[in-house]
């Protein structure tokens, strides 16, 4: 962990609640164990350490979930979260894909984070987050269990996201009553945020309407080091070294970090000017070492004339949205809820 020392550890401890600190430090440590210097990944141990939860067709706090195989060829699973009707204590198999019965129901396709290598739809942290989103936004959430690096490199997660998007769009039971169309939003954190951008891009010419993108601490990078990357390296749970490792694991071999997947508005990127791109909500944590890149991304959208709202949370670290024990969490939840609300 280049650049880390005792002082830095204390510093990160001062900006987050203790249990958050324990949680994220644990991830940091565990993930460190999993990354091998030769670029391979200890998947077996990763799955062992990951705390997972099953889907649950019995509603808990008014939300139930079930898994669906979307694509057999790639074993693509997604977990679907819905609100239970008041009188339904145990949705049966017919109820699972019962048509949504509101004028407008947002359907949020969620891509979990994990720097393209870690976590799954059934990771407890993401299952919890998705459940929150259901209640918060009165939405159906579809959490895509995309293929991960290094076993599956670019463009696999984007392909999976695209498959999921097509699938969601073609479900009649997800259509809002108002216009018999599926009201789709894309959301994701870390690598999931990156996937959101690229799936939205692919959707542009396709005729599938994406109503909005939500990017939480999206994972972007670039060959040159930015100011925040240099300044914050190793200070708040994340190091440049591990960021580099993940890009090397995800990007095609022999590509550098200016590949457009990593750096969409970089030297090899292209402008989105004149393209009908969804409105975006970009949430940036001030203590995330790549926040420069995230701000650059938002500015790139803006320059291209796209609708983008940048939410900059000065003292937030990565993972702040995993636990509801800080102000930023609630702020972001409110913003998200407003973003997908039909009145927007």
């Amino acid at each position: 962990m280049a650049g880390s020392n005792g002082v830095n550890l204390n510093e990160s401890k001062r900006v987050v609640p203790l249990n958050t600190w324990v949680l994220i430090s644990n991830f940091k440590l565990a993930y460190n164990l999993l990354r091998r210097p030769d670029g391979t990944f200890n998947r077996h141990l990763a799955e062992f350490l990951d705390r997972k939860v099953p889907a649950n067709a019995n509603p808990v706090d008014g939300v139930f979930s079930f898994d669906v195989i979307i694509d057999r060829g790639t074993s693509l699973l997604s977990r679907i979260y819905r609100r239970a009707d008041a009188q339904e204590s145990q949705p049966n198999i017919v109820d699972l894909e019962k048509p949504v019965n509101s004028e407008v129901v947002p359907v949020i396709i969620f891509f979990h984070g994990g720097s393209f290598a870690h976590s799954s739809s059934n990771s407890a942290i993401y299952d919890t987050l998705c459940r929150r989103l259901v209640g918060l936004c009165k939405a159906v959430v579809v959490s895509v269990n995309y293929r991960r690096a290094p076993e599956n490199r670019y463009p696999c997660p984007y392909d999976d996201g695209w498959t999921a998007l097509k699938w969601v769009n073609s479900r009649t039971w997800l259509q809002s009553k108002k216009d018999s169309k599926v009201h789709i939003y894309l959301a994701g954190d870390s690598s999931g945020g990156n996937i959101v951008h690229h799936v939205a891009l692919r959707a542009v010419e396709s005729g599938i309407d994406v109503l909005g993108n939500i990017l939480l601490n999206p994972m972007f990078g670039g060959q040159e080091r930015t100011e925040s990357e240099k300044r914050l390296d190793g200070k708040y749970f994340v190091t440049l070294q591990d960021r580099d490792w993940y890009w090397r694991a995800f990007l095609p071999e022999r590509e550098d970090r200016d590949h457009p997947a990593c750096n969409p508005f970089g030297p090899k990127g292209k402008s989105l000017e004149g393209i009908k791109f969804p409105k975006s909500l970009v949430v940036v944590a001030g203590l995330d070492l790549v926040h420069d890149r995230q701000i650059t991304y938002a500015e790139g959208l803006k320059k291209a004339g796209q609708d983008v709202k940048l939410l900059y949370l000065e003292q937030a670290t990565i993972g702040f949205y995993l636990l509801p024990n800080n102000n930023y969490f609630h702020t972001v939840m409110d913003e998200i809820s407003e973003f997908v609300s039909p009145n927007c």
Partner: protein, 486 residues
């Protein structure tokens, strides 16, 4: 989560600026308050982390943090620590404190004093669940309760229960769960339960303080469901039919009702044969659900005869029952020169052609074959028995078997008496009594036909019957017993 905006921002100074547009809120209280007690549940566990799969007591949080720091310091100097992954044995990742400690100890090459035998429950996904029944604890009064689950940690999330409920978990036969309950005082006994099959129940330990882990609120089991999405309505139709049948079998009529309606919708979208078959199936299922059973004798007898013959041809169960019975009879008749079969339910006599052919092929030539067929009176007064007998006689002639037939019409077998059957002495004639799918009726009628069977002094009695209602599978049995000769 049901938490309102909480001011749980710990930490020393006011370094937390807030550019975000949230409503103003008071900053954290003084230094040193690094955690909030509201986050605990009854067991003192940090509830927020528990929902995410980590069991750490709030009071231990600082300690765990410190261990994490230590570990980081030790590991910080190395370039990669991935070799640790393979060198270390990893125990329960949910017990973060233990996990970190074990790695620290590994690094320091010390046996950890904190590790007690409870953490040695291996959490390996592939290993067999250990079924320890008792463990001795050192007398530290720390009571620990944790759940050891290789794949899934939590039963019901989020919400109150930080601990899984495991009374009955019908749906999770894929998972293995171990629940270890520890009493907090000396000499605790443990009950370790592996929920390998879906119906095992949790038996709590005998220690009175043992049930600290089960918070007793949520008792809903988890129902993980995986849908295999099929674009093809045909496949969905089949799945729904099967699901409906299963629901009926499980007496879940509410679900079955919902499904059968769904089948109607799906079937309508099909064409041709699929549609017809599905519709008939759905109708049959519906009759089962709504308990609409056909009355007896509502079918024209020739119609029902034709139906029975087709059923016989298409469905193997009856044929198999006949086959088995015939084999047994053949064996019993091995050396007899004259044989007599009494059939308590002749119906169409479908069992006998095969037997007669087998007799015809017997080395040394066929015996003389006499068949006594018993059947109920026909509503249209036709003599069905004679017709069957006549057809069998024709068959016997073509295959060269000496054949004699007698039919008895009896609405109840109580009407029959042994004398009526014209039984001949056993030296002359070997007798077999045959009852295929008649047993329930015989027993219900309390007809004494079993005694009748006895009186015929058969060499063998074959019977096949269907198990009782609720078990729709068929069983075939061939009961062979020798009656003492008199």
């Amino acid at each position: 989560m049901k938490r309102d905006h909480q001011e749980t921002i710990g930490g020393a100074g006011n370094s937390i600026g807030n550019k975000a547009e949230s409503s103003s809120s008071s900053m954290a209280t003084g230094k040193g308050k690094l955690w909030v007690e509201d986050d605990q549940d009854a067991g003192g566990m940090d509830e927020l982390l528990a929902v995410l799969g980590y069991k750490i007591k709030s009071s231990e949080m600082a300690d765990v943090a410190q261990k994490l720091e230590q570990l980081e310091m030790v590991l910080g100097s190395e370039d990669g620590i991935s070799h640790l992954a393979s060198d270390t044995v990893h125990y329960n990742p949910s017990d973060l404190s233990g996990w970190v400690q074990s790695m620290l100890s590994e690094l320091n090459n010390l046996p950890s004093p904190d590790l007690d035998s409870s953490t040695l429950l291996s959490n390996n996904q592939d290993s067999n669940p250990s079924t320890m029944t008792s463990l001795d604890f050192p007398n530290n009064s720390q009571s620990k309760a944790f759940v050891d689950d290789s794949e899934y940690d939590l039963r019901a999330i989020p919400g109150v229960a930080a601990y899984p409920q495991q009374e009955f978990d019908k749906s999770n036969d894929r998972k293995r769960m171990k629940l270890t309950l520890v009493g907090s005082n000396t000499a605790p006994t443990l009950a370790v339960n592996s929920l390998q099959s879906s119906n095992s129940s949790c038996t709590p330990s005998s220690s009175p303080q043992a049930i600290m882990a089960v918070s007793g609120t949520l008792s809903e089991p988890t129902r993980p469901v995986v849908l295999i999405d099929s674009q093809e309505t045909g496949v969905r139709l089949v799945h729904t039919l099967l699901a409906c049948a299963e629901a009926i079998q499980q007496e879940n009529l509410k679900l079955a009702d919902a499904l059968v309606k769904h089948i109607g919708v799906l079937a309508a979208s099909q064409a041709g044969a699929m549609r017809k078959v599905a519709t008939y199936f759905a109708e049959a299922l519906a009759r089962r659900i709504y308990k609409i059973f056909p009355q007896d004798h509502c079918l024209d007898s020739s119609y029902s005869d034709t139906l029975e013959m087709h059923f016989y041809e298409t469905c193997p169960y009856l044929k198999f029952a006949h086959f088995t019975a015939n084999q047994a009879i053949l064996e019993a008749f091995a050396n007899a020169s004259r044989v007599h079969v009494i059939d308590f339910g002749l119906k169409q006599g479908m069992q006998w052609p095969a037997l007669m052919q087998a007799l015809a092929l017997r080395p040394g030539g066929p015996p003389a074959f006499r068949l006594t067929g018993i059947g109920p009176p026909q509503p249209d007064n036709t003599d069905a028995l004679q017709q069957v007998g006549w057809k069998l006689a024709q068959l016997a002639q073509t295959i060269g078997v000496e054949f004699e037939f007698r039919g008895f019409v009896a609405s109840s077998l109580a009407d029959l008496e042994a004398e009526m059957l014209d039984l001949r002495p056993p030296e002359v004639e070997a007798v077999a009594v045959n009852s295929v799918f008649e047993l329930h009726r015989l027993v219900e009628e309390n007809s004494g036909c079993l005694m009748l069977g006895w009186h015929t002094r058969p060499l063998i009695a074959t019977s096949a019957w269907q198990l009782a209602a609720g078990d729709s599978r068929l069983r075939v049995n061939s009961a062979e017993f020798e009656l003492p000769s008199q």
